[in-house]
């Protein structure tokens, strides 16, 4: 007789996911699935709406990273309407994006991920979380809470709304940045950078050594990677070329509007999110952990792997250390957390760089746009991975068709492979306990759906 073990809901992640693990008669894992169980239908309900309204509707796909949907949508609408933005429009948008990355990475590492590493592994569920951290390490927790908050407050000052933002508008940005505002943001940005460097040092001392030892078998798989780089091969979050790296190291680059020629989508029975795979490799899709096919990963580790360099100094030093330890591409899933903190450093440095650019205080922030028929693909690197919004408009500039590929969707395939591998290595003869189930969840939390 076979048995199914269900973890539902997967906790300390954003959104609704479940894991079903199938055991055979001997109690060994024969299959495992991670699925997203909730369908909203954004592709449906944006149809008919004026395109310029979409950037402030699709934010509701995710309350943790609404800025990413806001910006990818704004870029797609710009493209539908043939808008070309004044430089300040792009700089302000990117500033918001990197600030949003900062809050997300602090949240993900300390609130969602770190309790697995900072609190004893056999601790009860009631303390193995941020509330437990507040009690066990009040000073650290207070600083973490304060810094995440600071990023959010900076966003509010700059853009009004931080959760479900409105300031990126078709053709640019809704308001210019004043000179004195810029100075105060700069000072806050320096505080964030100090914290980011502290967080990475702290994690290298207190967190990573034990997790690399203890959790070594968790979700180790071999896949390709997808991320965004500029023309010099430097890591980019806001714009650039998509770079897809095959597990054997070979890369192909493509512009976001060509995504359909490279990536393929497949509907599966167990998830409302379609599974995306690398169609251009011509090998189809297989989620078998022994030899996955078509499977690539996105998100922090992927970006750190595909880029040749990071253009900001401290993050580059960290990248070099990371590469010297783990090689390129690094395949271990738990390294997502390490890569996440390197990106945190990059995002903070980038905040200061953007604020240091004279053009960012230019009062001209928006080009007027004219609604028209067209098609536009907008993409950004979201904390959870490459995000693609693809819209078509009619002659009134209203949406006739939309296709969205969100970060989590790219990672559905590798998450399935990781979870199956983890489950197979932790579950023997049908024996499971809370710690084993939590380890399986950790394989999902590393990706951060």
């Amino acid at each position: 007789m076979t048995q199914v073990i269900t973890i539902h809901p997967v906790t300390r992640i954003e959104g609704n996911a479940r894991i079903d693990i199938q055991l055979d008669a001997a109690g060994e894992v024969c299959d495992a699935r991670v699925g997203i169980s909730s369908l909203r239908g954004f592709e449906q309900f944006v149809v008919g709406l004026p395109a310029e309204e979409i950037p402030r509707i699709v934010t509701r796909i995710c309350g943790i990273c609404p800025w990413m949907h806001h910006l990818a949508a704004a870029k797609a609408v710009d493209a539908c309407f043939g808008a070309s933005l004044p430089p300040a429009g792009h700089l302000l948008r990117e500033l918001c994006q990197v600030l949003a990355h900062i809050h997300d990475k602090i949240l993900h590492f300390f609130f969602l991920g770190a309790p697995d590493f900072l609190i004893e592994r056999d601790a009860d569920y009631s303390v193995r979380n941020i509330m437990g951290l507040v009690q066990q390490q009040p000073e650290l927790a207070a600083r973490v809470v304060r810094m995440r908050q600071l990023g959010q407050v900076m966003l509010e000052r700059l853009a009004g709304k931080a959760i479900h933002p409105v300031a990126a508008v078709a053709g640019g940005f809704a308001r210019p940045l004043g000179k004195s505002e810029r100075e105060s943001l700069y000072l806050d940005g320096q505080q964030l950078l100090d914290f980011a460097c502290f967080a990475l040092e702290f994690a290298k001392k207190e967190v990573f050594p034990q997790f690399l030892e203890v959790f070594a078998p968790v979700g180790a798989i071999t896949t390709g990677f997808l991320g965004t780089v500029d023309q010099y091969g430097h890591l980019r979050l806001y714009d650039g070329t998509l770079r897809l790296m095959h597990p054997d190291g070979r890369v192909e680059e493509f512009a976001a509007p060509a995504y359909e020629q490279v990536l393929a989508e497949e509907v599966v029975t167990w998830s409302t999110a379609k599974v995306v795979y690398a169609g251009s490799w011509g090998e189809g899709l297989s989620l078998d952990p022994a030899s996955p096919k078509g499977v690539y990963r996105v998100n922090t580790l992927a970006r750190i792997n595909v880029c040749d360099q990071i253009a900001t100094p401290r993050a580059q030093v960290e990248l070099e250390e990371f590469r010297s330890r783990f090689g390129r591409p690094a395949q271990h899933s738990l390294l997502y957390h390490w890569a996440r903190l390197i990106e945190l450093v990059y995002a903070c440095e980038r905040v200061l760089e953007l604020l240091g650019d004279e053009r960012i205080v230019d009062p001209v922030v928006r080009a007027p746009v004219t609604p028209q028929a067209g098609r536009g693909v907008g993409h950004v690197e979201a904390p959870r991975g490459t995000l693609i919004h693809d819209y078509t408009t009619d002659e009134n500039g209203c949406i006739t068709r939309a296709n969205l590929i969100v970060g989590t969707t790219h990672n559905i395939a590798p998450m399935n492979v990781s979870v199956r591998r983890t489950a197979a290595s932790c579950i023997q003869a049908g024996r499971v306990d809370d710690e084993i189930l939590n380890r399986i969840e950790m394989a999902v939390r590393a990706y951060d759906p």
Partner: protein, 318 residues
């Protein structure tokens, strides 16, 4: 709830984006203190407790349950019933829960039409994920399905409001919510002179960027569709409404001023009483963008929906 025991709080999400929960985390300095005052017994974003597998949800008992998100699948419904059974006071947390929110925009179509669009298979034979919870015929707000003790609208609600509501609920008092409109909390200049038509937001409002928002002319008077008059205030806390701070018009995300109000009818009234031609609005149904539950947004019949979709682009809507 006054005894020595810390009040037990449960947070459950349905068709939600987690923005409501993130907003709670944004209460900043107050947060550690708040977390110490209560005992959180269930909160999937932050803690590991599992509530069940197939069909049944075994939620822990709680004094106050917060439910965010709207009700759109049979699984949401089961979870919501379980929560109602297990908590003494139930709070609808955020506009999705109180009025349907953005997910209820799907109510303009039937569930089948939505599935056909999201999973286009061969015509008439869409490939659907079969092993996921079934969609309900439409998206419901929480109070349409269970008794609700307290509604806290906002997409998301302001962190200070959430913190204040938790603090009062745990002392057993009845929290108070702002009943004013967004306009009443908005400092822009109003002259009573309105633009005769409503224009799309294709270029920025007129204002001097060197001057504070208090010196900007009301966006609605400038001819931009600003839903401030028919939307309940509080998004900016004691300060300027958040979108107006960004010099962007309000789209109504806190829901109607009176909880049973209708943002569409109320807004058309405001426009008509100022002599503004409401036909200049491109998409009137989006005045219900955040409050389409309670049967306010209704689906066109399935076949009509399909025709409308396939003919878009070569047929002007009449």
């Amino acid at each position: 709830m006054k005894g020595r025991r810390r009040p037990r709080l449960s947070f459950v999400w349905l068709q939600a984006c987690s923005g409501c929960e993130i907003s709670l985390l944004n209460s900043g300095e107050r947060l550690p203190d708040l977390l110490n005052k209560v005992e959180i017994v269930y909160f999937p974003l932050l803690m590991d407790r599992k509530c069940g597998g197939e069909g049944e949800f075994d939620l822990p008992e709680a004094d106050v349950g917060f439910v965010s998100g709207s009700v759109s699948s049979d699984e949401h419904l089961t979870l919501l019933y379980a929560l109602r059974r297990r908590c003494r006071t139930l709070v609808s947390f955020g506009t999705c829960a109180t009025h349907g929110g953005i997910p209820a925009l799907r109510n303009r179509w039937s569930a089948e039409a939505t599935l056909e669009t999201v999973f286009p298979g061969t015509p008439g034979q869409p490939t659907l994920p079969a092993e996921v919870p079934a969609l309900l015929d439409r998206v419901y707000s929480v109070d349409e399905k269970v008794r609700v003790d307290f509604c806290l609208p906002g997409c998301p609600p302001h962190p200070e409001t959430i913190a204040a509501v938790i603090e009062t609920l745990v002392t057993g008092e009845q929290p108070r919510l702002p009943g004013k409109s967004v306009c009443e909390t908005c400092p822009t200049i109003r002259t009573g002179e309105m633009h005769r038509t409503v224009r799309r937001f294709l270029n920025n409002a007129e204002y001097n960027s060197e001057e504070p928002v208090e010196r900007m002319r009301c966006l609605l008077e400038q001819g931009l569709l600003c839903m401030g008059p028919v939307t309940v205030g509080g998004c900016g806390g004691p300060a300027t409404p958040l979108c107006v701070q960004a010099r962007v018009p309000c789209r109504g995300c806190y829901g109607p001023v009176r909880s049973e109000g209708n943002q569409l009818l109320d807004m058309l009234n405001v426009l008509a009483s100022h002599g503004v031609d409401h036909r200049s609005i491109v998409d009137r149904q989006s005045l219900l963008r955040f409050s389409g539950a309670h049967g306010l947004l209704r689906s066109v019949r399935k076949t009509e929906g399909v025709v409308l979709m396939s003919e878009k682009g070569n047929k002007k809507s009449s």
